[in-house]
C-alpha cells in the first residue's frame, strides 16, 4: 500500500500531458466512444503514428515491431488517462485489439505485414463481432465462412461497427463449423474492408449522430492466410485479445473527472427553483453523490491497475468497474441535464444550449455504455457465477 508515485512516472505523465496538449489533433466533441468525421481521419492517422513513435502506444509489442524491451506497465495506463483527460482522440477503431490478436496468435507473415501498418496509422481496424441476432450473447453469431479453395467465402451481417466507415481492416468473427456447440466452430479473420461484397452502411443512433455502422458481407472472399489463430478457435482468440485490453479501465476515472469539472463550471450559473443552484443543499447533495461515485470509480480503477501491475487482479475486477463506471456516467449525464433546469431542454445546435448540448448528447449516449460490451445485466450474472461461484440457471 503506497500512495506516492515515483518521480519517473510523474515525469512520464508530465511528458505525455505536454505531448497531448501540443500535438493532439483537436479534441472529441462528444462524450463516449465516437467516430470522427471523414475529414478528421487523416490527422488522426498521423496522430496514431505519432503516439506509437513517441512510445505511448504499443509499448508491450515485441521489440522487432517497435515495442519496448522492458515496458513499464503503468505507462499504458498513464497514456490512456491523459488522452481521456484531454478528451483527445485515442487510437480509434480496433487496431489495439487486432494487434493483441496478431501478436498472440498471428503468423509471422501476418505480423510482418499488418503490425507496421497499424503503427503507422496506415491501417485503421474495426471490430466485426456483434450481429443483430447476437448482442450480449456474442457466441450466438450467425455469419458463415466456408472454405472454397484457398479462400473463405463469408456471408452475414455485422452491426455496431464503430469506425467501420473509416476502417481498412476488419477483425471478423465468423462461424466455420455450424455442427458443433456455439462457442466452438468460430474463426477469427483479418479482412480487407475494401474486398468486394463488403457493404458498410452508417447507422444513425438515438444521439442523432452516426458513430456505428452495419456491415453486410455478401460472398466476401478472404484469403485463407487471413485466418487469425487456428480455424474454429476464434472464440479463444477473441476473448484473449479482449482480455489484453487492460488500459481502457484507466480512462474511466479521468473521463468522469472531466465531466465533474465541466458540471461544476456551468453549475455556478445554474438555478434550482429560482435560486442559485449551488446554494441549495439538495443540489449540493446530488452533486456530492455523483462526485463520490466518480471518485470511487476512479479509485476502483486504480486498484485494478495496481493489481494488473502485480498480476493479482481477479476476474470480477474489470467487469465491476465497467458496470459501475457506466452507471455513474449515466447518472452524471442525467444530473448535468437536470441542473440546467429549463435550459436543459436545448440540444446541440441551439444557440442557448449549455456547452452546445454536450450533456444532452452524453445522456442519450450513456446507454451505449450500459448495453455494449456485454449488457450490465449479463455482466452482473457472469460475475456472480464466475467469481462468486453462484450456480448457473437451468437451461
Amino acid at each position: 500500500m503506497r500512495l506516492d508515485i515515483s518521480p519517473e512516472l510523474e515525469a512520464f505523465r508530465h511528458e505525455v500531458r505536454t505531448f497531448v496538449a501540443q500535438s493532439a489533433p483537436g479534441s472529441r466533441p462528444h462524450a463516449g466512444v465516437r467516430a470522427p468525421h471523414a475529414e478528421q481521419v487523416p490527422a488522426i492517422r498521423a496522430w496514431i503514428a505519432a503516439l506509437f513513435e513517441a512510445g505511448y502506444l504499443g509499448m508491450s509489442w515485441p521489440e522487432e515491431f517497435g515495442g519496448q524491451a522492458d515496458p513499464v506497465p503503468e505507462h499504458a495506463f498513464i497514456v490512456a488517462e491523459e488522452l481521456a483527460r484531454a478528451r483527445a482522440w485515442e487510437q480509434i477503431g480496433a487496431g489495439s485489439l487486432g494487434a493483441n490478436a496478431l501478436i498472440e496468435f498471428g503468423t509471422d507473415a501476418q505480423k510482418q505485414h499488418l503490425l507496421p501498418r497499424i503503427r503507422s496509422g496506415q491501417d485503421l481496424w474495426c471490430q466485426l463481432f456483434s450481429e443483430p441476432g447476437a448482442g450480449s450473447d456474442l457466441a450466438g453469431l450467425q455469419t458463415r465462412a466456408r472454405l472454397d479453395g484457398d479462400e473463405y467465402v463469408v456471408d452475414g451481417q455485422k452491426v455496431w461497427t464503430t469506425n467501420g466507415q473509416h476502417a481498412d481492416i476488419g477483425y471478423l468473427l465468423a462461424r466455420t463449423d455450424p455442427t458443433v456447440s456455439k462457442h466452438r466452430g468460430i474463426t477469427a479473420f483479418a479482412i480487407d474492408m475494401r474486398t468486394p461484397g463488403v457493404d458498410i452502411r452508417p447507422l444513425r443512433e438515438i444521439t442523432g449522430t452516426s458513430d456505428f455502422n452495419e456491415v453486410f458481407l455478401d460472398s466476401v472472399r478472404i484469403p485463407a492466410d487471413r485466418v487469425i489463430g487456428e480455424v474454429n478457435d476464434g472464440w479463444r482468440v477473441a476473448n484473449s485479445s479482449l482480455g489484453h485490453e487492460r488500459s481502457g479501465v484507466a480512462a474511466r476515472g479521468a473521463e468522469l473527472f472531466a465531466m465533474l469539472d465541466d458540471l461544476l463550471d456551468f453549475a455556478q450559473d445554474a438555478t434550482f427553483v429560482g435560486r442559485p443552484a449551488l446554494r441549495d443543499s439538495g443540489v449540493r447533495q446530488r452533486i456530492g453523490k455523483v462526485a463520490t461515485d466518480i471518485h470511487v470509480t476512479d479509485l476502483m480503477s486504480k486498484v485494478v491497475q495496481s493489481r494488473m501491475v502485480h498480476g493479482t487482479e481477479d476476474a470480477a475486477d474489470a467487469p465491476l468497474v465497467k458496470i459501475f463506471y457506466s452507471e455513474v456516467n449515466h447518472a452524471a449525464a442525467e444530473l448535468g441535464v437536470s441542473l440546467q433546469g429549463v435550459d436543459g431542454l436545448a440540444v446541440e445546435g441551439d444557440e442557448n444550449a449549455v456547452a452546445n448540448g454536450w450533456w444532452q448528447d452524453a445522456f442519450m449516449y450513456a446507454r451505449a455504455l450500459t448495453i455494449a460490451g456485454g449488457a450490465n445485466e449479463v455482466l452482473r450474472t457472469v460475475v456472480a457465477e464466475r467469481s462468486y461461484g453462484l450456480p448457473r440457471e437451468p437451461r
Partner: protein
C-alpha cells in the same frame, strides 16, 4: 371515490386512441418534425372535430363543459401517440380565460378556442428560471390603459402556430397574465432545438410589446398556481401515455427477442424491470387522475395532489424510459427505432412544469408549512 372511467370517458379514450393511431403514427411524427411545423393541420381538424379543444370550455361558449379528467384522457392519448399540436396548451389557456378573463375576452376567445379556430399557448418559464409564479421576471407596466411587456420566455410550446400567447408577467410586483398576439410589434419567436423530437418549443422575446388593456386576465398568485398545477397534471398525463406505450413496446419485444437461446423476457432481471415499470405506470395513473379530480373539485389539497403527481411521474416515467431502452439493447439505440422518440418526450415532460426534486421540495414545503407547530 371512483377510478373507473364512465361511458363518455371510455368512449373519449377509445375514439381518441383510434384516431391518433391513424393520424399520429410515429412515421407521421417523424415527417412532421422534419417539415419543421408545429402542428399537423389534418390532425388539428380531427382533434377539433373530436371535441378535444372544446372539452374544458363551458357549454355557453360552445364547449362541452367537461373537466381536467377528460383533458387528462386526451393528454394521455396524445403522449401515447407522440402527437404534436397545441391541443393541451389551447385548453389550458381556455381554462385560464374562462376562470380569470373578463366577459369581453371570454365572449371573444372561448368560442374560437372551442371550435379550434384560435390556437393558444402559455408562456411561463424564462431562461435560467423555474416553473413557478414567483420566478417570473417578465415585466408589465401600465400605460394609458394599455400595458407594455418586456422580457424573455423559453420552452413555450407550439408558439409558432398559436394565435395567442398567454404571458405570465409581473405587474407592480404582483403576478399578471396577458393575452398577446404573436404578430404584435416587439414579439420575436425563435424555434428551439430541443430534446423533444415530437413537439415544438420556442424562445420568445417581448421587447416593450404593447398589449391592450382588455387583454389582461384578473389573477392573483393562487390563480397562476392553479394553472401551474393543471399544467403539471396534464404533463403527467402526457408522460403516462408515452410511458405506457414504452412499457407495451418493451413487453412485446422481450417476449420475442432471444439471447442465450431463450427469450430475454424469461430472465428474471427483465421481469423485474417490467414489474417496476408497472408500478411506475399504475402509480402515475393513480396520482395523475386523483390530482385532476382534486383540481376539478377545488379540493383544498388540490395543489399538493398535483405536486405529488408531478413529483412521482417525472421520476417514474423517466426511469421507465431508461429501463425500456436498456431492455431493448442495441436495437433501441438506433434513430430508426421509435423508442427514443418516447424517451425524449418523457424526458422533456420531466422538465416541463418542474422536475422531481423541485416538486419534492414543494411537497415538503406544503407539508411542513401546513403543520401546526408542536
Amino acid at each position: 371515490m371512483d377510478f373507473e372511467f364512465n361511458e363518455e370517458q371510455a368512449t373519449l379514450r377509445e375514439i381518441s386512441r383510434s384516431a391518433l393511431l391513424t393520424h399520429s403514427s410515429p412515421a407521421h411524427v417523424r415527417s412532421l418534425a422534419e417539415s419543421g411545423h408545429d402542428v399537423d393541420d389534418k390532425l388539428w381538424r380531427l382533434g377539433t372535430d373530436l371535441g378535444w379543444t372544446g372539452l374544458a370550455i363551458g357549454e355557453d361558449f360552445g364547449g362541452s363543459g367537461q373537466s381536467l379528467v377528460e383533458l387528462c384522457i386526451v393528454a394521455e392519448e396524445l403522449g401515447r401517440a407522440l402527437a404534436a399540436g397545441p391541443f393541451i396548451t389551447s385548453s389550458l389557456v381556455g381554462l385560464a380565460v374562462e376562470r380569470f378573463g373578463s366577459d369581453t375576452i371570454k365572449d371573444e376567445l372561448l368560442p374560437r378556442l372551442a371550435d379550434g379556430s384560435f390556437r393558444a399557448t402559455w408562456a411561463l418559464a424564462e431562461p435560467r428560471g423555474a416553473w413557478t409564479p414567483a420566478s417570473v421576471t417578465t415585466n408589465a407596466i401600465a400605460t394609458d390603459g394599455d400595458y407594455i411587456l418586456h422580457g424573455r420566455k423559453t420552452a413555450v410550446q407550439d408558439a409558432g402556430s398559436s394565435n395567442g400567447i398567454l404571458v405570465s408577467a409581473v405587474l407592480g410586483g404582483a403576478p399578471a397574465l396577458f393575452m398577446v398576439d404573436p404578430a404584435s410589434t416587439g414579439v420575436t419567436l425563435r424555434k428551439q432545438k430541443t430534446l423533444d423530437e415530437s413537439r415544438s418549443f420556442y424562445e420568445i422575446d417581448f421587447d416593450n410589446v404593447r398589449v391592450g388593456g382588455g387583454r389582461r386576465l384578473e389573477v392573483d398568485a393562487s390563480a397562476v398556481q392553479w394553472l401551474c398545477d393543471a399544467a403539471a397534471v396534464l404533463t403527467s398525463a402526457d408522460s403516462l401515455g408515452a410511458g405506457q406505450r414504452l412499457m407495451e413496446m418493451t413487453v412485446d419485444y422481450v417476449k420475442v427477442r432471444e439471447q442465450f437461446d431463450r427469450a430475454i423476457g424469461s430472465f428474471q432481471a427483465v421481469k423485474h424491470k417490467i414489474s417496476d415499470m408497472a408500478i411506475g405506470v399504475k402509480g402515475t395513473f393513480a396520482a395523475t387522475y386523483y390530482a385532476a379530480m382534486s383540481l376539478d373539485l377545488g379540493s383544498p389539497d388540490a395543489s399538493r395532489d398535483a405536486t405529488v403527481a408531478k413529483s412521482f411521474s417525472s421520476d417514474a416515467m423517466s426511469r421507465l424510459a431508461g429501463q425500456a431502452l436498456q431492455s431493448h439493447g442495441g436495437i433501441g439505440f438506433t434513430w430508426e427505432h421509435d423508442l427514443h422518440l418516447y424517451l425524449r418526450r418523457v424526458k422533456t415532460d420531466e422538465t416541463l412544469y418542474g422536475d422531481t426534486p423541485a416538486h419534492q421540495e414543494r411537497l415538503a414545503a406544503l407539508l411542513i408549512d401546513d403543520r401546526p407547530a408542536t
